[in-house]
Amino acid sequence: MQWKPAATLALIPVAAIIAPAIAHAKIYVSVEDTQKRLFPGEKLVQTPVALTEAQRERMRELSSVREPFRGERVWRTAKGDWFIVDEVVGKHEMVKYALAIHADGTIKGIEIMEYVESYGYEVGEASWRNQFVGKTGASTLKLNKDIQNISGATLSCKHLTDGVKRLMVMHDLVLKGLK
């Protein structure tokens, strides 16, 4: 066996040098910093929720998200607003985000906390995230329906939209009944 490498193989190290230099940076924001962005000056108290299998199934049914939700990632303000951290499937890794919900059940805002992908960083821009503001658990929350897609970031847009839907379903099923 003998392999005579093609001259074109020499392009590999060239690409190896160039690609990282022009690749996108990561997004990484801590829970504390995200809380300060969404609830500046407010104190949040961690309020873990224990979901029943029936509740999880309902959340899965209405959002199509199958990744398990971690119930300890829920916080509450003194005014009754909610701060929830969740993860959805990204192109290569999980996309971590936070959702803020007013006490009246309307979305206050969404922040992208961790995003490490080749493309699609526009999901972190306010112009896309602001589409969710004011929506409720009764909203459709479906990509290309009441949430517009970003070309080239379809998978991230779809999963984040479905993830927000799941959290709003959880809010209606569980959180809004908590005293």
Partner: protein, 296 residues
């Protein structure tokens, strides 16, 4: 005529072997999916395929493809690539009256004989385009059309594919299939040309079992024909094997292996291209591929 058909069948087999690059990030070894380059973005991709083992003796066929992809718009991708290969063969075909100790032949061997044959060559260049009609991320079935034109020293070829893909389980499970049809003009060393055509069905599944990682299986049902219009069925074979893929935001790599089980058949007069119910030419018992991509 015997040698002509022999060569034509060999080239047809190569046609099938070569028409298997991957669009965008390649989670499969040989199957195309509908993961296209984003509008205005580029990707460099290097592929190395190794086909090993025929009826006997030694047969190693290495094929390198160096590719650059570009996203013209969200649903249309163009790519161009350079094809090179290296052949190392020695008495890899069964014995014949002419070569009682085994024949040195198969794809990449310019003249049949019974001695050692080694040659590296630049085979040509290819241009491909993929148009995505529906997106499997948001539609139940993703559908795409693929066209590839190859111009080279050993053949000119046009290949068309219907790309099908469905995603499940948060897009972690991908089922995909390609229906492949191709015609080619084979170029022989004596200046003659010959018509060939091919029909393949590729199908497989991959599952993302951890962040950055997918693994799965893929298979190929392969058919070669003599003539541009599928006039004479010359060859049929199956291939099946696993794949594994790792990706980060700045690069990805895929490795896959396909094994040719028994059940293949040849109809060409030169039976050296088949033995033990397997098909040879450019095909082997085992095919390995490694692909490396860098978006930028």
């Amino acid at each position: 005529m015997r040698r002509f058909i022999h060569k034509a069948a060999c080239a047809g087999a190569l046609l099938a072997t070569m028409g298997s690059l991957h669009a965008g990030e390649g989670t499969f070894g040989w199957l195309y999916t509908l993961d296209l380059q984003r509008k205005g973005t580029w990707e460099f991709e290097q592929r190395l395929q190794y086909n090993r083992g025929q009826a006997g003796g030694t047969y190693d066929f290495w094929q390198a493809r160096t590719e650059v992809e570009y996203g013209v718009n969200e649903n249309f991708q163009l790519a161009g690539y350079l094809n090179t290969s290296f052949t190392n063969a020695y008495r890899n075909y069964p014995a014949t009256d002419e070569f009682p100790n085994g024949e040195t032949g198969g794809w990449g061997v310019a003249y049949p004989g019974d001695g050692h044959y080694r040659k590296w060559r630049v085979e040509g260049v290819s241009l491909e385009g993929i148009y995505r009609l529906t997106n499997p991320v948001i539609d139940p079935v993703g559908v795409g059309l693929y066209g590839e034109l190859t111009l080279g020293t050993v053949k000119d070829e046009f290949e068309a594919r219907l790309l099908l893909q469905s995603n499940f389980l948060d897009d972690k499970l991908v089922l995909a299939s390609n229906l492949v049809a191709a015609v080619e003009k084979v170029k022989f060393v004596n200046g003659e040309t010959g018509p060939e055509s091919m029909f393949d069905v590729l199908f497989g599944a991959t599952y993302r079992f951890a962040n950055n990682w997918t693994a799965g299986m893929e298979a190929r049902y392969h058919n070669d024909y003599y003539g541009y219009r599928y006039q004479t069925h010359t060859q049929r074979a199956w291939f099946v094997g696993p794949n594994v893929h790792y990706a980060e935001k700045d690069w990805w790599v895929t490795a896959a292996w396909r094994y040719q089980p028994t059940g293949g058949k040849c109809w060409a007069p030169n039976d050296g291209e088949c033995s033990g119910r397997r098909v040879w030419d450019s095909h082997t018992r085992n095919e390995f591929i490694v692909k490396f991509g860098m978006p930028f």
